[in-house]
């Protein structure tokens, strides 16, 4: 410490301060770091779990009231909650309930996996190759707004009444969403990350693997989530329109059977199951995945 060059009378003070620079820094760090606490279960229950239960309860009460007060007095139009419940119980006791669900879910998930395998490289290509983007980018976005039920008639004509036709419809519904999600994810990668990566030597494939792909993950996941919703919708449309004894009975076919048998409670059963599966897959797979990614990056706003 050569303080000879300075005439400042407080020149010795820095020496003392600096001896404790680590402590000063630790103090600053502690002051600026907020401690995150876990929300107690009671609060989670009141804020997150209770409201949907109340909403479902209200719907059931109103529904029962419509029947009991004879406002709608026609079981072929509106079955009672108990009738629909019986339908579920019968299907469960006959052992067919899980079969319906599994037929549709296995188709939906397999189709979704195909869509994933096609949509991901397609998205990469559109995002990275200018010519490809100019050529099919707008078409890909446009396809997202085309209801995939429009593909059912041509798919039946091209492929016949079989599982391939179902998968084709799922693909046409889900691939654009997945590819578009990846494209917008890559477009939104902050240029700063790319520059930082380049100074560290992450260029070309290394840059794509270490920087671009992980940075684009949130957008990609949003695309997957939407892709699943589109897969499921497309599949239901295909199952309702194209029923054949060879295809087995999925949820869409169950709905169609209910209509043919004029059994409104069976129609309701099918609608509830379709809704339930769609929500369950989202809650069990996509939402946790998305929450985990966003939370680990500090992007999840605590509500």
């Amino acid at each position: 410490m050569a303080s000879t060059e300075t005439t400042d009378p407080t020149a010795d003070a820095p020496v003392k301060d600096r001896g404790d620079a680590g402590g000063l820094e630790a103090g600053l760090d502690a002051l600026e770091t907020s401690v995150a606490s876990r929300t107690p279960f009671r609060q989670t229950f009141v804020n997150k779990i209770l409201p949907p239960i109340v909403a479902v309860g209200v719907v059931l009460v109103v529904w029962q009231a419509l029947i009991s007060l004879k406002i709608v007095d026609d079981p072929t139009k509106l079955p009672s909650p108990a009738d629909v419940g019986n339908e579920f119980r019968d299907a469960w006791l006959e052992g067919t309930l899980l079969g319906y669900i599994w037929t549709s879910i296995s188709r939906g998930l397999l189709g979704f996996l195909f869509a994933l395998a096609i949509g991901t490289p397609l998205g990469l290509l559109v995002a990275r190759v200018k010519f490809v983007r100019a050529a099919i980018g707008p078409i890909l976005s446009g396809l997202q707004s085309l209801p995939s039920v429009a593909w059912v008639p041509p798919a039946v004509i091209w492929l016949g009444l079989n599982n391939s036709m179902m998968y084709a419809v799922i693909l046409l519904g889900a691939v654009p969403s997945i590819a578009n999600g990846l494209v917008s994810g890559i477009d939104q990668v902050p240029p700063l990350f790319l520059r930082a990566g380049r100074t560290m030597g992450a260029t070309g494939l290394k840059g794509a693997w270490h920087i671009v792909m992980p940075a684009a993950l949130p957008g990609y996941l949003a695309g997957l989530k939407q892709g699943w919703a589109f897969s499921w919708r497309s599949l239901m449309a295909a199952e309702i329109i194209a029923s054949s004894p060879d295809l087995g009975i999925g949820l869409g076919a169950l709905l169609e059977n209910g209509r043919n048998a004029s059994s409104m409670s069976m129609v309701f059963e099918a609608i509830f199951l379709i809704l339930f599966v769609g929500i369950a897959i989202d809650l069990l797979i996509f939402s946790p995945l998305e929450r985990w990614v966003l939370r680990s990056r500090g992007l999840l706003v605590k509500g």
């Binding site: 300075t6 005439t7 760090d29 930082a196 940075a215």
Partner: protein
């Protein structure tokens, strides 16, 4: 141009200089034809030297740093560096999908450090920036000052002879900035790395550097240089720091005033 740069980098000149900037000009296409941003800049950074580049807006200091970092190419002139310089930005630029430690390990990995050594080296670097125990912290869990220290550790992980810093403390509060000045001075002394530090804060420039280089604006030219002989560590409040800052500020204001006259 690229091959000329690469060849020059292999020459012996690189050994005597952490960076050698020779007659570098840079222009960008503007609304009225080519706009000259940097005009004939010549500047050397000796091994282990700490140089600050000072200038008002539009002096092209960040452009110059990008050129030295190899992110862009000069229109004329040559830049030679001993290997790829590390670069620190005003924003921490840490990757939010990695923990603090893994951010540092990525730099090590891209440099080819074997997997078995990365963890230990990353812990060492975190200790160097006084963030022992923050290995598993996510970027968003760190304060602004801590993030910049992790960014510093990540830059040091590149094991480069030259550390380029582009206003790295400009976005921090004054208290944290003072502390990080001390830290940077200490780390510079401990590692012997050369630093080229860009700032528009005159006192910061004097507080940190052995040599302050003032750039004029539009186009950027080297206007003047000062040697700063005061011993480190200094404080930003030291009288000699203030005195020299005053002198430099006067020259800087003179440069800025020229742009008001037609």
């Amino acid at each position: 141009m690229a091959t000329a740069l690469a060849k020059a980098a292999e020459s012996t000149a690189a050994v005597e200089h952490a960076a050698r900037i020779e007659h570098v000009s840079k222009s960008f296409p503007g609304p009225a034809g080519q706009q000259l941003v940097l005009d004939d800049i010549t500047l050397d950074v000796a091994p282990g030297e700490f140089v600050t580049l000072l200038g008002a807006s539009g002096c092209g200091k960040s452009t110059l740093l990008n050129l030295v970092a190899g992110l862009d190419r000069p229109t004329a002139g040559t830049i030679t560096t001993d290997g790829r310089p590390a670069l620190m930005f005003q924003e921490h630029a840490l990757f939010p999908w990695l923990t603090a430690g893994k951010n540092i390990e990525l730099a090590l990995k891209l440099r080819g450090v074997p997997k078995s050594e990365r963890r230990g080296r990353a812990e060492q670097l975190l200790e160097l920036v006084r963030l022992k125990g923050s290995y598993g912290k996510r970027v968003h869990e760190l304060s602004g000052g801590m993030r910049q220290r992790v960014a510093m550790a990540r830059a040091l992980a590149q094991d480069s002879q030259l550390l380029l810093m582009d206003e790295p403390f400009a976005a921090l509060d004054a208290i944290t900035r003072d502390v990080l000045h001390d830290e940077l001075t200490r780390i510079w002394a401990e590692t012997g790395v050369s630093v080229l530090f860009v700032t528009h804060n005159v006192r910061e420039a004097v507080r940190l550097a052995q040599r302050v280089v003032l750039l004029s604006s539009r186009p950027g030219r080297v206007a003047r240089e000062w040697r700063v002989d005061m011993a480190q560590p200094r404080r930003i409040e030291d009288a000699p720091v203030a005195e020299l800052s005053l002198e430099i500020t006067d020259v800087l204001r003179g440069e800025i005033r020229r742009h008001g006259q037609h």
